[in-house]
Point group: C2
Chain length 355, copies 2
């Protein structure tokens, strides 16, 4: 049996709170009996959900608090006033070594601000990045940064490439993931100086991935690249655009198939195929914004996550811990600092969107 | 009958050359008998396509050249060496007043570089922008810039908002189009200083649109905003990401529906509904990258455009001419320069992605 992995859960975050977090923990425990849960939140609201999951009860401990960070709380206020909140206590728990990773569906800004403050970055990591795993034609694609950093310099982008590669290797089990820098053309002379500087370093660098050059927005879903690296502004726009198109397509299909007798009939008959298609495109399979580069594993589940989606975030967190994601990152960042190619590179340029 | 509109067509651009351009002209002429075409390219390759379209023959003139700009030609080389090319001659034709607008499916970079050089910007327009019209849940959304400008300052963004609004009013017939600035959150304090500066101007400005604030990537397809304004780097990534997701969804559906008997059966029965859905999501309906802000109307059709898609680009060009798009822009840019809100605004900040 694998080593026990202790997961700190913020039970009060997201749209559904304990009603999705507790069944999610039960689901994850079924697949991974070596998980143990430390659950932070309102005991009176959490306990009733244990009744349907007696096995989970034995694998969990509730740490009560009645302070919660709301979804619209400003990050700065959450950090200042939320010291007794379920989110903060769960993060503290990991920092104190009582849990191995923390998962919350709460306010992204508050979670990132608190995690940065309490957990800090791994030594040598300049800034944490938010990553996510998107489905593509041939398999999952890791994309980062998705909004932690409005402005990035070439060193940040190189570090994000390392973070993404380490994730693809340890969790997605891709031995030598392909890595691309997001640009507006694949030719070497395209785009910003920052991107060209980062490209030069990645070409020369010995790291767990394989740099394949500049990629474009459409490559995120072709499956031709395993890790897509960009600044937080561009990445956030790309992610939300992709989500928007997905919703648009599904709404139009629903309206048109539901709007006629033949449409409904056809849908019924093809429902198995439609479900398989939906499953292949399901972003919930790797639900979660991964905060990479922090000293401990921290995952932000989608606020609207149901029990299945939240359980996937637990799986990813457990896999990152079990497969020693952070140890690999630490090793790679140390190598990077010693890398001749990296040290020799002048990297003055910065994607400075504030000008 | 409306006034005659003379369209200069580069017959040699794109993946299909005359085999899609000439049938496209015939299609457009059926719907708009007042169009006249001046067709630039290899007469021997163009003429055979007239046989099926005798009506088009009477409405067209071929201007022969055997010089073409290839798809992988560098823009600078195309400008220097392509003076006798079908693309350049078509653009010259508009500049000389022999045609009212120019349409090419050729190399985007070469077309933009040549059009900027030959046609120049409308007085007061700092930089042209590339715009396109994307389908959304409730109607078309104009998005710009899509790659003409890597770096943009607040004034550029304000001008793009004007260009997009004028297009939405004159061609899409939206009297007071809603305009949003693409950002990574809708709160006023979000994002780059450049965006906040542009927002401040647009809030105070009297222009043909209605500024509704910051929008996010997913808003491009919700239909909640008619015009989405961004810098060329971000816009290009967003557009290509959207295209990629569209292709991904359609490929997965095809594979799953085609991969089983019930899938195929269901698809057949629901094929009417599926076709209607496809039509609503068809980016070909407004095929074309619109080069806005130039002294004359210039449209880049998608390189892979078939006859239907290319004919849509012709329609858009004809509508821009007929509805006096450029006259409205000229008027608005003049107003902008006199606008107290605009003149009083300090706009030092720039989305300077080169740092």
């Amino acid at each position: 049996m694998p080593d026990t992995i202790r997961i700190a859960l913020d039970a009060m975050g997201g749209d559904h709170g304990p009603s999705s977090v507790i069944p999610a923990a039960a689901l994850a425990l079924e697949a991974k009996p070596h998980l143990r849960f430390r659950i932070f939140g309102d005991e009176a609201r959490i306990k009733p959900f244990f009744e349907a999951h007696p096995q989970l009860k034995g694998a969990s401990e509730i740490i009560h608090t009645d302070v919660f960070i709301s979804n619209d709380e400003k990050p700065s206020v959450a950090v200042r006033k939320g010291r007794q909140s379920s989110m903060r206590l769960a993060i503290d728990d990991v920092a104190e070594g009582k849990s191995d990773c923390v998962i919350s569906a709460g306010n992204t800004g508050a979670l990132m601000a608190t995690a940065k403050l309490v957990l800090r970055c791994l030594p040598g990591v300049e800034r944490p990045a938010i990553a996510t795993v998107l489905p593509s034609t041939t398999g999952p694609t890791v994309t980062l940064d998705l909004g932690a950093n409005l402005t990035c310099d070439a060193e940040n982008l190189v570090q994000f490439a390392l973070l993404g590669s380490c994730f693809a290797r340890t969790v997605l089990k891709i031995e030598k993931p392909s890595v691309g820098l997001l640009n507006i053309g694949s030719e070497d002379q395209k785009g910003h100086e920052t991107l060209r500087d980062a490209a030069e370093v990645l070409q020369a660098l010995n790291f767990p991935g394989r740099y394949i050059g500049f990629v474009e927005g459409n490559d995120i879903t072709t499956g031709d690249v395993d890790v897509v690296v960009t600044d937080g502004f561009t990445g956030n726009v790309a992610l939300k655009t992709a989500e928007g198109v997905g919703k648009f397509v599904s709404q139009v299909l629903k309206e048109e198939l539901g709007g006629s007798f033949l449409g409904k009939m056809g849908y019924l008959i093809a429902s198995g195929a439609m479900k398989r298609a939906k499953h292949r495109m399901d972003p919930r399979v790797y639900n979660g914004a991964l905060f990479l580069g922090l000293s401990q594993v921290c995952i932000k589940s989608h606020g609207s996550a149901d029990a299945f989606a939240f359980s996937r975030a637990i799986h990813v967190g457990a896999d990152m811990v079990a497969n020693r994601f952070n140890a690999l990152v630490a090793e790679q960042i140390e190598n990077l600092a010693k890398d001749e190619a990296f040290v020799a590179m002048p990297m003055p340029s910065q994607i400075d969107l504030n000008g």
